[in-house]
C-alpha cells in the first residue's frame, strides 16, 4: 500500500500531463496538475526548516565538533525568519495605510533588506567567486597535452579564452579582411556556433533520450527509486 498509492498518483498525473500536451481539450488539466505541484513544493520548505532545526539542535546538544557553527546557524535562521515574518521596520502599503503589516518585507532600508543586502548578497557572491580560483588551479593541474584529444581541447581553450577578451582582437587584427575568418574573435564565434553546437546537440540528444526513458520507467513503475528503493 505504501508503494502502490504513490505509484498510482505518479502514473495518473504523468498521464494527465502527457495528454494535456497532445489533446488541447485537456490542457487545463495539465495546468491544475502543475499548480498542485507548486503547492506541494512549498510544503517542502516546512519539512526543510524542521530538519534544519533538528540537525543543528542535535549537534549542539551532543556538543559535536563545530557545534558553535550550529548555534550561529540557528540564531541566524531564527532572526531572519522573525524579521521577515513580522515585517519589522516595514512601512505599510499605500493602499492600506492603516495596516502595519500590509507592507512588503523586502522594502529597502528595512532590517530584512539590510540582512539581504549586507550579509546574504556578499556571502553568496564570495562563494561563487571562488570558482575563479579553482578554475585556475584545476587548469594548472589537469590541462595536459597528453593525447590528441587533449591537444585539440587545449588549442580550443586558448582560442576561446583569448576570443572572449580584447586580447584576441589585438593579437590577430593584422590579418587582412580576406582572412577575417581566422581572427580569434571570429574563430571563437565559429567554434561556439559550429563545433560546440554540434557536440552539445549530440550530448543533448543522448541526455534527452535518457531523461525520456527514465521518466517512462518512473511512470510505468519500473523505476521506484524515488520512493526509496529500487526493490520491494
Amino acid at each position: 500500500m505504501k508503494r502502490n498509492i504513490p505509484l498510482l498518483i505518479t502514473a495518473f498525473s504523468g498521464l494527465v500531463l502527457i495528454l494535456a500536451y497532445f489533446i488541447p481539450m485537456t490542457q487545463s488539466w495539465g495546468e491544475v496538475a502543475a499548480i498542485w505541484f507548486d503547492i506541494l513544493a512549498s510544503i517542502a520548505f516546512i519539512l526543510g526548516g524542521g530538519n534544519l532545526i533538528k540537525l543543528h539542535a542535535r549537534k549542539m546538544a551532543l556538543r559535536q565538533a563545530g557545534w558553535a557553527y550550529s548555534a550561529i546557524t540557528l540564531l541566524a535562521f531564527a532572526l531572519t525568519l522573525f524579521i521577515g515574518l513580522s515585517k519589522i521596520g516595514v512601512s505599510p502599503n499605500l493602499q492600506f495605510p492603516d495596516m502595519a503589516w500590509s507592507g512588503h518585507y523586502r522594502e529597502s532600508g528595512a532590517p530584512f533588506w539590510w540582512i539581504y543586502e549586507y550579509a546574504f548578497k556578499p556571502l553568496t557572491a564570495t562563494t561563487f567567486s571562488m570558482l575563479a580560483f579553482y578554475i585556475a588551479s584545476a587548469a594548472f593541474r589537469a590541462f595536459r597535452a597528453k593525447n590528441l584529444e587533449a591537444i585539440l581541447l587545449l588549442g580550443t581553450a586558448f582560442i576561446i579564452l583569448l576570443g572572449r577578451t580584447f586580447a584576441g582582437i589585438i593579437l590577430t587584427s593584422w590579418l587582412p579582411d580576406s582572412l577575417a575568418g581566422l581572427r580569434i574573435e571570429n574563430l571563437t564565434v565559429e567554434i561556439m556556433r559550429v563545433v560546440n553546437t554540434a557536440g552539445s546537440r549530440a550530448i543533448m540528444i543522448g541526455i534527452a533520450l535518457g531523461v525520456a526513458s527514465t521518466s517512462l520507467k518512473v511512470l510505468l513503475g519500473v523505476d521506484r527509486s524515488y520512493l526509496g528503493s529500487g526493490e520491494e
Binding site: 590541462f143 597528453k146 584529444e149
Partner: protein
C-alpha cells in the same frame, strides 16, 4: 662470514616426498653446481625426523663427489677443509604441506589483499581470507577459523591513522574462535598484526594469552603504498620459531643451517626477484606440480606470487579438465582421441599420481592438459597481480574518454622478458620443443621473450643462497640452473591468415637470415645455446612487437636448446571453433616445431 673464502656450498630442499640436495663448488674461480642427490623425506612416521632424509641425500652427494660431507655423528661437516665438508649449508622446506596461513584485513580488495600478497610472497599457502566486508556472517567466519587450523594468522587492516573499529572487529572474530595451530596442541597460535598503528593497544587488549601476538609495521601504511617487507620477514621468523620448531627433527636442522630455513616457494620468489632486480628485467616463473601450480612474476620490480590450489597435473588433473572443459583441452591435440578413453586416463592419473605417459597419445594429451592448467593459473595470477586498489587517481582532460581503472593487472606479456618453467610436465618433457610449445600456448608471450627452464628444480636452493651469497647464487642460476630453450618472437594483433605479420632479420653468431612471417605462420630457426644474434623486426600495420603498432623493433635473440621461434599466430591466440580444423592446425604446428618423433606425426 668472508664471502671470498667460500668454496663449497651445500643446499637441501625438504619437499613433501623427496629431499633434494645439491652441491655448489668453486671451479676455476666460478661457482658451479656440481653434484646432486636425492632421498625420501623422513618427516612422517616411522622416522619422524627430517634430518635422516637430509643426511641420506647429502651422503649420496658425498659419494658422488668423493667428498665426505657427513661426519660419524650424522652431522654435516663444516667448514670445508681439504676434500671434506662444506662452507655453507642452507635449506628450504615444504614438507608437511608447506606453510599454511590465514590472513585477515578490513576490505577484501585492499588491506586483506595486501596481507594475502605478503603471505603468498613469503611462500605460504593462503587457506582463507577474512575481511570486514566479507559476505559471510560473523558466526560462519568464526566457524571457518576454527575448522582451518592454519600455521599462523596474519592480521592487517586500516592504514596508519585509519580505521580502528574494523580492525578490532576482525580481531574479535579471531580471538573467540581460539584457533588452534596445525602442529602440536600445546603451543599458542602465532598471530602477526601488521595493521593500523593506532589500533595496536586495542589489538593487544583483544587477543588474550591464548595466542602469541607479534606486532610489526603496517603492511599498508597508506593506501597508495604497500610495505610488505616487515610482515614477510616476521612470517619467516615465525615459520622458523613455531612451525618448523614443532615439526619432527627440524629443531636439529635449524641448528645446522647457516641461513634461516625458508618455505620453498618463498625461496623461488627470492631468486626470481634477485635476477629481475639485477638485470632490470620483467620475469615470470611457473612451477606446475601435481596438486598446485605456483606462478611468480616480477614486473617493474613488483613481485607477485599466486598459488592455484586446484590446478595441477595429477591430484588436480580432473579439476583442470572440468574448469577448462574437455573440449578446450582437446583443441591442443593433433591426434584423434576418444572421449571415453580420455576420461579414464584422467581418473587414472588422479588415483595414480606418479604414473608417466606410456604412449604418444597419452603424452600429447597430458601436455594439452598442462597447457590449460598453465593458462588458467596464469589467468588467476593476472587477476591477482594488480595495481593497488583504493588509490586516488589524478586525471587530466586527456582522460575524459579513457578513464582507466585502478586495480588493473600489472602483468604485461609484452613487457615480459624472461619466462622460466619448472615442474614435472615442463622440465621432464621428452623434447625441449614440447616445453617451448606449452609455454607459448599457455602464456602467449608477446614481443621478444626468452624461454628457459629450471634444469633440476634448483631455484629454491638458490633462493636461500641469494640471501647469504648473492653472487654465487646468480652465477649458478645463470650457468647451471637455467637451461635456455630459446627466444620467442610473437606479434600482438590479429589479422586474416596469409596476410603479412612481420618481417625479421637475424645476424650474428654465424646466423644471417631474413624473411617474412605471415599471419598464422610459425617458424623455428635452430640456434644453439650460448649464442646471441641481432634481431631486427618490422611488424606490419596492426601488429605490435613492443614499440607500438607497425613500429620497428631492435632486439637480441638468444639461442637455446630449441632455437628461435617466430610466431605469427597472433595475440590473443585464437583457435578455430571447428574441432577438425583445429586438429589440422595443431598438426601443422607440431610439424613446424618438430614436437614429436617424425614417425609419429
Amino acid at each position: 662470514m668472508d664471502l671470498d673464502k667460500i668454496n663449497v656450498i651445500l643446499a637441501t630442499d625438504c619437499g613433501s616426498t623427496t629431499t633434494k640436495a645439491i652441491l655448489i663448488e668453486k671451479v676455476d674461480g666460478q661457482f658451479r653446481q656440481t653434484y646432486r642427490g636425492e632421498a625420501p623425506t623422513t618427516v612422517e612416521e616411522p622416522f619422524a625426523d627430517v634430518t635422516i632424509g637430509v643426511v641420506n641425500a647429502v651422503t649420496e652427494i658425498g659419494e658422488l663427489a668423493g667428498r665426505r660431507l657427513v661426519d660419524e655423528q650424522g652431522r654435516i661437516i663444516r667448514p670445508a677443509s681439504d676434500g671434506e665438508g662444506c662452507d655453507i649449508y642452507i635449506s628450504t622446506s615444504s614438507a608437511g604441506g608447506g606453510l599454511q596461513m590465514m590472513v585477515a584485513g578490513v576490505i577484501k580488495q585492499m588491506t586483506a589483499e595486501s596481507a594475502k600478497r605478503a603471505a603468498l610472497g613469503a611462500g605460504a599457502i593462503v587457506m582463507d581470507v577474512i575481511a570486514a566486508n566479507d559476505p559471510r556472517k560473523p558466526h560462519q567466519q568464526i566457524q571457518r577459523i576454527r575448522e582451518l587450523r592454519p600455521d599462523m594468522i596474519l592480521v592487517s587492516g586500516g592504514v596508519d591513522g585509519g580505521t580502528t573499529t574494523h580492525v578490532v572487529q576482525i580481531a574479535e572474530l579471531i580471538a573467540p574462535a581460539k584457533p588452534r595451530p596445525r602442529f602440536g596442541n600445546e603451543y599458542k597460535m602465532p598471530v602477526i598484526y601488521a595493521g593500523n598503528r593506532d589500533a595496536r593497544p586495542l589489538i593487544e587488549k583483544t587477543f588474550d594469552e591464548s595466542v602469541d601476538l607479534k606486532i610489526v609495521d603496517n603492511l599498508r601504511p597508506v593506501l597508495e603504498q604497500e610495505n610488505l617487507g616487515p610482515a614477510r620477514d616476521m612470517i619467516h621468523d615465525v615459520f622458523l620459531e613455531h612451525v618448523m620448531a614443532h615439526a619432527p627433527g627440524y629443531d636439529k636442522l635449524i641448528t645446522w643451517t647457516d641461513a634461516p630455513i625458508m618455505p620453498t616457494p618463498g625461496a623461488v620468489g627470492n631468486i626470481l626477484q634477485a635476477i629481475a632486480d639485477r638485470d632490470g628485467i620483467n620475469a615470470v616463473g611457473v612451477d606446475i606440480g601435481g596438486a598446485t601450480t605456483d606462478v611468480f612474476s616480477v614486473f617493474n620490480g613488483t613481485f607477485n606470487r599466486t598459488v592455484s590450489a586446484n590446478l595441477g597435473m595429477s591430484y588436480s588433473i580432473s579439476n583442470v579438465c572440468a574448469e577448462a572443459t574437455m573440449e578446450r583441452v582437446l583443441k591442443w591435440v593433433h591426434l584423434p582421441m576418444e572421449d571415453r578413453e580420455l576420461r579414464n586416463r584422467v581418473k587414472n592419473k588422479m588415483i595414480r599420481p606418479t604414473t608417466i605417459p606410456q604412449s604418444l597419445e597419452a603424452l600429447v594429451f597430458e601436455q594439452a592438459v598442462a597447457r590449460e592448467a598453465l593458462r588458467l593459473a596464469y589467468k588467476q595470477h593476472k587477476e591477482f597481480a594488480t595495481t593497488l586498489k583504493g588509490v586516488q587517481q589524478q586525471r587530466t582532460v586527456g582522460d575524459t574518454f579513457s578513464q582507466r581503472m585502478s586495480g588493473l593487472t600489472i602483468v604485461d606479456n609484452m613487457a615480459m622478458d624472461l619466462l622460466v618453467a619448472s615442474g614435472g610436465v615442463l622440465s621432464h618433457a621428452p623434447r625441449m620443443a614440447q616445453t617451448v610449445a606449452m609455454l607459448m600456448d599457455a602464456f602467449e608471450p608477446e614481443g621478444v621473450t626468452y624461454l628457459a627452464k629450471d634444469s633440476i628444480f634448483m631455484m629454491p636452493h638458490l633462493g636461500v643462497l641469494a640471501q647469504v651469497h648473492p653472487d654465487a647464487a646468480m652465477e649458478v642460476f645463470e650457468r647451471d640452473c637455467l637451461i635456455y630453450l630459446g627466444t620467442c618472437v610473437a606479434a600482438k594483433g590479429v589479422s586474416k591468415p596469409g596476410k603479412p605479420c612481420f618481417k625479421y632479420r637475424l645476424h650474428g653468431s654465424g646466423l644471417d637470415e631474413a624473411g617474412e612471417i605471415r599471419f598464422g605462420e610459425l617458424k623455428l630457426i635452430p640456434f644453439g645455446p650460448g649464442q646471441e644474434a641481432e634481431l631486427e623486426l618490422e611488424p606490419a600495420r596492426g601488429f605490435d612487437l613492443g614499440a607500438g603498432s607497425g613500429k620497428r623493433v631492435q632486439s637480441k635473440a638468444r639461442g637455446g636448446t630449441v632455437g628461435i621461434v617466430l610466431d605469427g599466430r597472433g595475440r590473443p591466440l585464437v583457435l578455430p571453433e571447428d574441432p577438425a580444423q583445429c586438429r589440422t592446425l595443431m598438426g601443422d604446428w607440431v610439424k613446424v616445431l618438430g614436437l614429436y618423433a617424425d614417425s609419429d606425426q
